[in-house]
Symmetry: C2
Subunit: 328 residues, 2 copies
Amino acid sequence: MNKTMFAILTVLDKQSEIIGSKEISKQLKLHGVDLTERTVRYHLKIMDERGFSKVFGKEGRRITDKGREELAQSHVSEKVGFIISRIETLSYMTSFDMEKQEGDIIMNVSFIHEKDLKHTLKVIKPVYKSPYVMSDRLVIAREGEQIGDVIVPEGKAGIGTVCSVTINGIFLKSGIPLVSKFGGVLQTEESEPSRFTALISYEGSSLDPLAIFIRSNMTDVLGAVKHGTGRILASFREVPVVCVDEANMLAKKIAEIGIGGILLIGNPNQPLLEMPVGMDKTGIVIVGGLNPVAALEEAGISSESKAMSTLYEYSHLMSFKDTLKKHL
Amino acid sequence: MNKTMFAILTVLDKQSEIIGSKEISKQLKLHGVDLTERTVRYHLKIMDERGFSKVFGKEGRRITDKGREELAQSHVSEKVGFIISRIETLSYMTSFDMEKQEGDIIMNVSFIHEKDLKHTLKVIKPVYKSPYVMSDRLVIAREGEQIGDVIVPEGKAGIGTVCSVTINGIFLKSGIPLVSKFGGVLQTEESEPSRFTALISYEGSSLDPLAIFIRSNMTDVLGAVKHGTGRILASFREVPVVCVDEANMLAKKIAEIGIGGILLIGNPNQPLLEMPVGMDKTGIVIVGGLNPVAALEEAGISSESKAMSTLYEYSHLMSFKDTLKKHL
């Protein structure tokens, strides 16, 4: 698949609605790709033939499952920077208003078999009572329903967990540049974070490091929440030293309204959990939003996750308690 | 565990023999750590108490399993650069002589349950007939036996596969600097490499990327060797443009004596399999030495691998055919 088709497919992938060549051409311009409607139509026709897109109505198109698969496997070299640039893009798009407690935050979306939903809620209950979740709010969606712009496939249930990149977004709106350095596995002892046992740089990976650690069975979130000793997903980030006071205040403020996840803020220019920091930087350790999903894998419930998946209106989230009442 | 103990434990880990504080002190100096024998003895005592080391004879020490575990989990932040610096160190230590076909090469060591050995040999047979192995030679060791300085634990069998970093070593001895950039999963179609579907930078990871891809079940080596379509382990490396002709000649020469693994050498300053290269560099795609072990995981045979594990005398390796005769 050439780069033009790749760009068109990327636009289609982001749409939940049917979209025409005019709108595609317009959206491509935003990504720095200049194509006439006519050229877009030419490529769409080839993509239809290959089964990557499908015609709806007069000229509308939608991406197919095969198209999504192709997208995931293509041009992976460009995705090495993809994770870090996705973090930057989504941080900018966060529009959460702390006073009103509304606006868009970032969600991870995981799919499980619909039949596993009740078992799932039981397994993740202790995780949602621990400090190792981003928020006590989440969203559950049934087949055909949407979480942001993600549609839950047939026979599946979708779980939307608050993504920790939301904190980058909130910090950015307050003028604090929070930079994600490493995704890692964090060992806990006596319910305290003790050290990272594995690290992958966000800049040098085509895959989300935390999703890889789940697939590699490297976590023990259930051990950490039940007995205090285990291995959770966490990431290492940095802020400039000059922002440390405001970062501390902001961390406190968002924790009060239910967005937690900031485990540790270090001292200026000092290593944090043995991790050295850059010149005039302060380290911050933040829990992975996917910790509940890691617990599922540990309990033998198979799931499929897309980290940093979609934007979602914060006020539409439901507390874990209410979620239990509704679905159990 | 503090850095001093970490350094001592690292020295102990590399020894197959019992070692005294005098020798430890001497070896530490080579690593830039200056400790008197007396200080070494002081720390060894604490390490004995914690169960990381054990006394043998008058003053000899050996690392324990607990010590090895501790070493694997400690100071991971220093290991982010660890993979790339291990590649550089081992490349330098390679002493393979192409004319005599002897000298030290680098091996990966994998352990399986001893009872799985026959099944293992059957599973990896088609991999050893494919172009996706580094060499058709390997080594099998039984419990208590050694592969280089690695001892096979009780109840296990050890499989030593030629590590692809051996090529970096051979190139370096010929004056060609081969730099490992990314470990990846490479899709094959009609028995030809088509594209990378996942990439992790060697510079930004505390773990060997290829070992992670095996654990995450992202390979389909058996598909690639049986039907031509699958996903193998491979890495992306670069040489300066000025060395390309010699690199091509050298690749041919080592293939003739049985060290394969170089799948593609690109054109100067041109992308290779969609991967861009650095200024005045040429891309090279080399198979992962662990492809036979990936096939084991795919077949449901559990294994535990240490990539870039040890140096090994090339002439002591056995062809796969002779290995089958001996062990099947």
